[in-house]
Amino acid sequence: MNTDFDVCVVGSGAGAGPVVLTLAQAGYSVVVLEKGPWFTDKDFYKDEIACCRRSTYTPSLRDERHVIEDLDDAGEWVGESTHASGWDWWNGNCVGGASNFMSGFFHRLKPDDFRLLSAYGPIEGANIADWPIGYDELEPFYDKVEKVVGVSGRVVPHPHLEPRSSKDFPYPPTREHVIAGWIDAACRDLGLHPFPVPRAILPHPAAGRRGCEYSGYCGSYGCASGAKGSSRAALIDAALRTGRCKVIPRAKVHRLVSDRSGRVVAAEYFDAAGDTRRVDALIYVVACQAIETARLLLYSTGPRHPHGLANGSGQVGRNLVFSAGGSGSGDFPYARFDKAKAEALKVRGPFVNRALQDWYVIDDPALGGRVKGGTIDFLFRHPNAIARANSQKWGEDGLVWGMPLKEKLEAYFTAARYLRFEVFCDWLPTDDCFVSLDPQVKDKWGTPVARIRIGYHPHDLKIGRYLAARAEKVLVRMGADNVHSSVSAWPPPNLVAGGCRFGKNPGTSVLDPDCRAHEVENLFVSDGSFMPTGGSVPYTWTIYANAFRVAERIVDQLGGPRKA
């Protein structure tokens, strides 16, 4: 068959990069269609206005928005567009996607996360399902991510350490802040097992990338050194060097065109000028992040796919999951310490890099016996100054201004350091958390936007609060003031997966165990959409690992590595 490319990949983030690199290295031609612009390391600065106060790496909500559907006080599901609410759901639309802006807290799933139903049993109101593959099948690809993307860390035994094929990480940990030792001491006093958080950050130059320069601004910012293992820096740049990969930025794929046999025959996109264009390929891979992937499939109706591409089961968009949990913090006033310790506490740049997984499984009668728990990560409050100042303008009875505001700002900025923790636990899949096409709201190209119902399961809050209470005890043990936490059911839009479950049964899943659509033999989905349950860690490492696994299946389907 004569096609423009062997493989067409829609999206360029964590779900796309491993496919792009693997296929290009195997001798196949790959085109990457990325909706956003193409920034390089040289375009990323530590600029809070560009990064975090304006839409620079994400679309303007005037042009592209979501509709978020939540329960109102009368118990009705009501949608509100993100343009109206100001709640931006974009996570990074540019070459490399949201992986450019991640913090790179990398945790593997545990073997139990692949069999949540068998290991812990059903929960009323939750659509829990086992995965069609086990941890053993993904482990070699977690290992590959450590080496190819670059994960730094140090293996420290703890009760829930997952099995590993490599003894230790290929890169030593990034530099650590003095407070990491204080966390370790407090945790050990409490009989806990703190361990260094693996990071997708190079501690020294390697693979044509520079090492971390410790500017102290990592999450939310693009990396200027290339140390952060974004899909762009670690994978797509390497794929481009093969000469077999072409990236087309500002190419908004709105529809995959399928023929009467049901196969995909073209990707149709709007180019930078707004003109409609098409490319064709032998195999199409969708990796637009869970919500936009579901939206694209739902909109791509065809003669054999009247309800959306690969949606004969009606499962596309269903069982969307986020990361449940929340966060908390404690204050460390400098006045509490001698001068040397206070100065050490003030240092910006090195990472905290500490986590606890002692409660990854909880066996507590208070929770009704053995249940799935989660992960606690420790980190400093983000240094973004405008966001921090803005958070100080609210007092007990409204706005604070004048000299009281200035005194509050000065104390907040100069008198203490703030250690936070984040709790990650399963966001149970339910019938009330899904993606559909909005019947009214369209994007600037006239395509219906994604409408997201954000219902949650109360069990998630119970687990989140259990973990937060234990994390608080660590901060108290460390001597922190003002220790508090907040566990809510608001979904974090940057921690999203599901919507195109993989499974063996075409009636209850969208993708087969290789992440090929049950109904479309030349369509794969390689982002986090495949996950039937999300586990209790951030998703990126698992998305990378699975995309490397899927890439090998695609190479197999094309007939193996092409001889030079």
Binding site: F39, D43, Y45, K46, D47, E48, I49, A50, C52, R53, R54, D70, L71, H83, G86, D88, M102, S103, G125, S215, G219, S220, G325, S327, R348, L379, H382, P383, N384, A385, I386, A387, A389, N390, S391, K393, W394, G398, L399, W401, G402, M403, L405, K406, L409, E410, F413, T414, E422, T430, D432, P458, S486, V487, S488, A489, W490, P492, P493, N494
Partner: protein
């Protein structure tokens, strides 16, 4: 199954930057950002900014596009900023951080929608009305104590609170942005708050709007 949320959304996890605009809107009487703007621009402005005769007079001038502020209105805005963020012996005030020019640039730039700009602009007129109705004098002619009384009255309506929260937000941007944006001259805000900026810092040709 799902239950109505009662907590406010917290800091965004993992990316850590927070989403201040959303939380601001949330803080303000649980109305979302644009619901305010829609209401403030419509006939119900009277209810939201009840003491302003201009708002009470109807929607005509408040639904117009972001009009130009006259010199007197810019002076009013400067006086509001100076009251909200006064200079002190050891710390910069609104004028020291170029807060007015910074806000002028935001209103002239691409970041805000027309209705968001109109809300900020119209708020100046509403404030002037309230000052005259309460004191018989222009806001700029009032002493600090009278200004405080007027602004606290403004704050009592949800639109007024949102307007003031907006003015404060752009003061914070002017205080702590990279100086390349025109605020925080020579890092005066960073120095005062002992804030250590990240690196590399943005050159003038790689800032928001030019990337």
């Amino acid at each position: 199954m799902a239950v109505r949320r009662t907590d406010r959304p917290g800091e965004r996890r993992c990316s850590e930057s927070g989403f201040a605009a959303f939380v601001d809107a949330w803080r303000s009487a649980l109305l979302s950002r644009r619901t305010f703007l829609a209401q403030a621009a419509a006939a119900s402005a009277a209810a939201l900014f009840p003491l302003s005769s201009r708002a009470t007079a109807g929607a005509a001038d408040s639904t117009s596009t972001a009009g130009q502020l006259g010199p007197a209105q810019w002076r009013t805005l400067a006086a509001v900023q100076a009251h909200l963020f006064p200079a002190a012996a050891d710390s910069p005030g609104a004028a020291d951080i170029n807060a007015l020019d910074y806000l002028r640039a935001v209103l002239a730039g691409p970041a805000l929608d027309a209705d968001e700009k109109a809300f900020i602009v119209n708020g100046v007129g509403w404030l002037e009305d309230i000052a005259r109705e309460q004191t018989g004098a222009a806001f700029t002619a009032l002493d600090a104590g009278q200004r405080e009384v007027v602004l606290r009255r403004v704050e009592k309506s949800s639109a007024g609170e949102t307007w003031l929260a907006n003015i404060l937000l752009y003061i914070f941007e002017a205080l702590l942005c990279d100086p390349v944006y025109g605020g925080n001259p020579e890092g005066v805000g960073w120095k005062w708050l002992q804030h250590q900026p990240g690196f590399p810092r943005p050159p003038a040709d790689k800032i928001y709007g030019r990337l």
